[in-house]
């Protein structure tokens, strides 16, 4: 993220200018111990940088309690995260992007996983890691939300499953 020369704006200025880039930079699913269960990158990072990001995200997210917001500033970006049992679902986006939309995008994604894996648990994500990528690509692509209808996503996944 360092090499991105994006201005750090916090919405403290006037007119909420929306001309800058706004997209998902990466999606991470981690457990409390910091083990990565999914990492999906929407911009170029080298492997060391990815590892550093994973550790930093874990450090900032796990110290927060339930009374805190689901948003946390992160370098020049922000992380929108939600905790489900022992898993943290984190989406890193640009600072001017819509927090609540991504917060619910996470939940929408989790509901799809839950349906697809029938009461999803951490182990499903471990053993079926290659399928999780398919689910992600159906719902998020190129750093954007691709499809939001659970029915449509599940229908497509079911179709692919049958091939």
């Amino acid at each position: 993220l360092r090499e991105q020369e994006l201005p750090r704006s916090r919405g403290t200025g006037a007119a909420g200018v929306r001309t800058g880039v706004a997209m998902i930079r990466f999606i991470l699913i981690q457990n409390r111990a910091g083990k990565t269960r999914l990492a999906k990158w929407y911009m170029q990072f080298d492997d060391d940088e990815k590892q550093k990001l994973i550790e930093e995200v874990h450090a900032v997210v796990t110290v927060r309690d339930a009374k805190h917001t689901n948003f946390v500033e992160f370098r020049n970006f922000k992380i929108i995260y939600r905790r489900y049992a022992g898993l943290y679902f984190c989406i890193c986006v640009d600072v001017n992007d819509n927090n609540l939309a991504y917060l619910e995008a996470i939940h929408n994604f989790v509901e799809v996983l839950n349906e697809y894996f029938h009461n999803v648990c951490e182990l499903d994500l471990v053993f079926n890691f290659y399928k999780v990528y398919t689910v992600v690509d159906e719902m998020f692509l190129a750093g954007e939300i691709r499809e939001t209808s659970q029915t449509k996503v599940l229908k497509q996944l079911l179709m692919l499953q049958s091939l």
């Binding site: 201005p7 403290t12 006037a14 007119a15 001309t19 927060r64 917001t69 692509l141 209808s149 449509k152």
Partner: protein, 990 residues
């Protein structure tokens, strides 16, 4: 739906994963992995051809090993082979491996691209989808080169399946982001816009993202998306909660698509078509109304989805900043959220309100929530929420509530998190200065700051308070009394000692009449802190002591004793030792008169932009603020021909050293003081004072070399009338006044001179004047308040010009504000020859008129007389200033009094071309600020006009109206005359 069993389809993989999970140690894991790698390697190398299933399984194992964090150096070819399989599951693993382990091996890329090409052409939607996802995930330049032309075709083809369209749209978006130059705009763009009307909301969702990004870069081309987005949005927000079926999320119709459409609309100004505009307003009102309705579900998902749309709608309302009614409603809605039980909502409301605070329509409405915000500062558990509360208080601060807000921030500072203390200190310092009606309040506030958070008070802050105290004599006595009292505390922060030392050194005499703060008591108080302080502070205190020697002869002996003590004279620190030696010597040898001159009270500092503001800017946006200070320092060094002035040493004061300790010592070295010579030392003094306030500037308190009024002697101006006022006999359309015979008369301005003059406002070089005989060319450069102009006189004929006399003419008024110096040129200009004249320029103060260049010469038997306006205009002394949007609007707001703003609405004289306009604004000298104005069609600029005496910050905004072929230009500066002049100059350019 069937549950997916663990590792179904690939038993070997599931076993392997289980094995890894059962490993008790890292070593065991590595051992198991190495065993597996050896196994896979032998399978891949074996003679027996592997079937697709085995290949898939091993590639998938390799991928798993890679994801565990181990390096993988083989298997790429097998993965590429999987791409050409006809089975989805095999193809999928192949593509996944490629996407995760991209390898820039060129041979492989060719094979991968080939496989992708085949899949794109397969007409099998599943395969096309896999291929598109792979391109979108990798997004490399090679892929862009191979497919950027193909994907738009897939996207707009009539027979493409919806799901493929979705993927194609986002795939194209990825390629456009990484390699915009490779994505050709074309017929497809208009068809893409119409995807906003697509039946399939998933397609609309994907297309909206693509269009938004494209529209940001090519607003004209995608303008039609506005009305389509509005009608799509309108259909969504007015639909019943079940209409959109599977796109309804917890009773909220298509929330993500609504958000995306609202963001797309933020790429544009409010729609011009009244029908579209009305429909959009209705939409926004509906969204605001829905926020007031009772929730359809108690689930947080419902309210989050609803509020996601609401916050985006509010962003659009703020972006348009044109409907006072909506702005106030938005503010009220956010006000409700400020007290919501959900922390998320409180946080977002604070954040959103910050932007509302800078709209003139809603600033007052925001202010009504001050108590709630202050309460948030005190009670919020999450530091990021408190941080937003501080931001909002800062944004809503104005003269009416400054005292309250500053007091609250100060009290918050006592317990504030370390991570945000420095920022709060800067904010308090800025607000206290900006809204100080009563400077005693300002002094109290800064001293409080130092008391509460001394460690976080940076140099900029305490330099600034000293600057202000020195410049305002109404507060000096109070400041002296206050610092004296503050210093009584047994433990006070070193920054307080610095401020106290400096102020008492300057103004201790103002309180010395009170026996409780007699000179000796003041001295003893300061000296009691001396031994606890760092070297720089001690050095400063030594300077205070020598100042005391001058102020209070009765303590001279005491101070000399202190200076004479071993701990000073033999101090291990060379700086302290030198000061002690020099000050002791000075106090012994110098006469009272000399002492009084050398140690005179500091002259006022030039008014300039607060360096604290610059610091805050730097903190807030390290990438957006250019390091002005650094740049200036460099430039001023340039102007002076080098950073090191000639050393001058006198009366035991080693100036080189004094300069090195600038910022601590402020000994005044007067230019009029004989022992210290002239010029260099005065310059030194200015550098010292410049550094004291955190900046180096090329500025003298005293004229270094007395500049004669514009070259009266050099150019014999006395002989010519001050301005070309009295019109000599009209010369009609002739360029040169050939009839006039009087050498002393100045010709009226040559026709066309005004036009030519205007052309030079935004550029520095070119031909200023030309007729059959003479050509005048200009080349000029400007830095800060200084400039140099080369005037080239070209003789176009083959005959000599005789008595060639160019003269610069300034009115009395102009002479005082603009200093011009030049040397006469050779009176003979040979045929075909060119002579050059250099004019050195200094802008003393802002000015309106332009000097006139009069040229008289004899050509053949005739006397020639030409006058042209010389394009030295106020804007030449611009230094561009980059700033972020928030800073721009913050300052814009600050400069809102009617005298500071000048506006002009005028008809376009030239074709309204964006690029030309940008070039002109940059040529004008201000920075062109991109991404600042919410309306991308507008231009905004910022810069600082440098004059000898002041620096004037200038903001400008140019709003083109293509339809009416008109412009509206607004200038805001702190000085009315400057706003007026800049506005007049720039208005002529478009």
């Amino acid at each position: 739906m069937p549950a997916v069993s663990k590792g179904d389809g690939m038993r070997g993989l599931a076993v392997f994963i289980s094995d890894i999970r059962n490993c008790k140690s890292k070593e065991a894991e590595i051992k198991r992995i190495n065993k597996e790698l050896a196994n896979i390697r032998s399978k891949f190398k074996g003679d027996k051809a592997l079937d697709g299933y085995s290949k898939k399984k091993y590639v998938c194992k390799l991928l798993f090993i890679f994801l565990l964090g181990h390096d993988i150096d083989f298997g790429h070819m097998e993965a590429v082979n999987l791409l050409s399989s006809n089975r989805y599951t095999e193809k999928q693993i192949g593509y996944l491996f490629i996407s995760v382990l991209v390898n820039s091996n060129s041979e492989l890329i060719r094979l991968i691209n080939n496989a992708i090409k085949n899949d794109l052409a397969s007409r099998n939607p599943t395969f096309m989808g896999l291929a598109l996802h792979c391109i979108a995930n990798v997004g490399s330049r090679e892929m862009a080169e191979a497919f950027a032309g193909e994907i738009p075709k897939i996207l707009v083809a009539g027979d493409t399946m919806d799901s493929v369209k979705q993927s194609a749209a986002l795939c194209l978006l990825r390629l456009y982001r990484t390699s915009p130059d490779l994505v050709p705009m074309g017929d497809w763009t208009s068809r893409v816009v119409h995807l906003l009307n697509d039946q399939h909301l998933g397609v609309v969702t994907a297309a909206t993202s693509l269009i938004t990004t494209l529209a940001q870069k090519n607003p004209e081309e995608f303008k039609t998306s506005v009305s389509l987005a509005v009608s799509r949005l309108s259909r969504i927000v007015t639909s019943a909660s079940t209409d959109l079926q599977d796109y309804t999320y917890y009773f909220v119709p298509a929330p993500w698509l609504s958000v995306k459409l609202l963001r797309l609309l933020q790429c544009y100004p409010p729609p011009e078509d009244p029908a579209v505009r009305g429909r959009l307003t209705e939409c926004l009102e509906t969204v605001l109304n829905k926020a007031q309705e009772p929730p359809k579900s108690k689930k947080v998902q419902h309210s989050n989805a609803k509020n996601a749309v609401l916050f985006e709608a509010i962003s659009l309302i703020i972006h348009h900043d044109s409907e006072p009614n909506l702005l106030v409603r938005a503010c009220n809605q956010l006000g409700q959220f400020l007290q919501h039980r959900e922390t998320n909502l409180r946080y977002l409301a604070l954040e959103s309100m910050c932007t509302l605070a800078s709209s003139e329509f809603s600033h007052e409405a925001v202010k009504t929530h001050i108590e709630t915000v202050i309460n948030a500062l005190k009670t919020e558990r999450d530091v990021s929420v408190r941080q937003r509360a501080v931001d909002l208080l800062y944004a809503m601060c104005d003269r009416s509530n400054a005292q309250q807000i500053v007091a609250e921030m100060l009290s918050y500072l006592e317990t504030a998190d370390y991570s945000i203390r420095e920022e709060i200190v800067l904010k308090v310092a800025i607000l206290a200065e900006k809204y100080a009606v009563d400077y005693t309040w300002y002094v109290d506030t800064i001293l409080n700051l130092i008391r509460i958070a001394g460690d976080y008070v940076s140099e900029e802050v305490w330099y600034r308070v000293i600057q202000i105290v020195i410049n305002r004599d109404d507060v000096q006595g109070y400041a002296a009394k206050t610092v004296f009292e503050a210093l009584q505390a047994p433990a006070c922060h070193e920054n307080l000692v610095k401020v106290g030392g400096y102020i008492l050194g300057e103004f201790g005499n103002l309180i010395a009449g009170d026996p409780r703060s007699s000179p000796l008591i003041q001295f003893n108080l300061l000296h009691s802190k001396f031994h606890l302080c760092s070297v720089p502070t001690r050095a400063l205190l030594l300077s205070t002591y020598i100042k005391f020697v001058n102020l209070f002869p009765e303590v001279k002996a005491t101070i000399q004793d202190v200076l004479r003590s071993d701990s000073q004279l033999r101090n291990a620190d060379v700086e302290l030792q030198q000061r002690a030696v020099e000050y002791l010597r000075l106090s012994t040898v110098a006469s009272t008169d000399i002492l009084a001159t050398v140690l005179e009270e500091m002259p006022p500092f030039p008014e300039r932009e607060s360096s604290i503001l610059a610091k805050l800017k730097k903190k807030k946006g390290p990438n957006t603020v250019t390091d002005l200070e650094e740049a200036k320092r460099e430039r001023s060094a340039d102007v002076n021909g080098g950073p090191e002035p000639a050393p001058a040493s006198a009366a035991g004061l080693h100036t080189g050293r004094l300069r090195a300790c600038a910022g601590r010592s402020w000994t005044r070295l007067s230019a009029h003081s004989p022992p210290f010579g002239r010029g260099t030392l005065a310059w030194e003094a200015s550098v010292l004072s410049g550094l004291l306030c955190g900046r180096s500037v090329f500025r003298t308190f005293f004229p270094v070399q007395s500049t004669p009024s514009p070259s009266a002697d050099l150019l014999g101006l006395g002989a010519t009338p001050p301005a070309p006022a009295g019109p000599p006999p009209s010369s009609g359309g002739l360029l040169v006044d050939v009839f006039s015979d009087s050498p002393s008369a100045v010709a009226p301005l040559a026709p066309g001179s005004e036009d030519n003059f205007a052309r030079f406002v935004c550029k520095n070089n070119g031909v200023l004047f030309e007729n059959q005989l003479l050509q005048i060319g200009l080349k000029s450069e400007f830095r800060q308040n200084l400039g140099r102009m080369f005037i080239f006189y070209g003789n176009k004929t083959s005959t000599q010009f005789l008595s060639f006399t160019p003269t610069l003419i300034c009115s009395d008024d102009l002479q005082t504000n603009l200093s011009l110096q030049t040397k006469p040129v050779d009176p003979t200009v040979d045929g075909g020859a060119q002579v050059q004249q250099v004019v050195n320029i200094e802008c003393v103060s802002d000015f309106t008129e332009a000097p006139v260049l009069n040229i008289q010469f004899r050509y053949g038997g005739t006397f020639q007389n030409v006058s042209v306006k010389l394009p030295i205009t106020l804007n030449k002394f611009f230094q561009p200033t980059e700033m972020a949007s928030q800073d721009f609007f913050q300052r814009w707001k600050q400069l809102s009094s009617p005298q500071q703003e000048v506006q002009n609405i005028f008809k376009a004289k030239h074709p309204m071309d964006t690029e030309i306009t940008k070039a002109k604004i940059i040529g004008f000298g201000s920075a062109l600020l991109e991404d600042v104005d919410p309306n991308p069609a507008n231009f905004v600029g910022a810069g600082i006009i440098h004059t000898r005496t002041t620096q004037i910050g200038c903001l400008l905004r140019l709003e083109p109206n293509l339809q009416a072929q008109m412009y509206r230009l607004t200038l805001r500066t702190s000085k009315e005359a400057v706003s007026r002049r800049l506005c007049a100059l720039l208005s002529e350019q478009f």
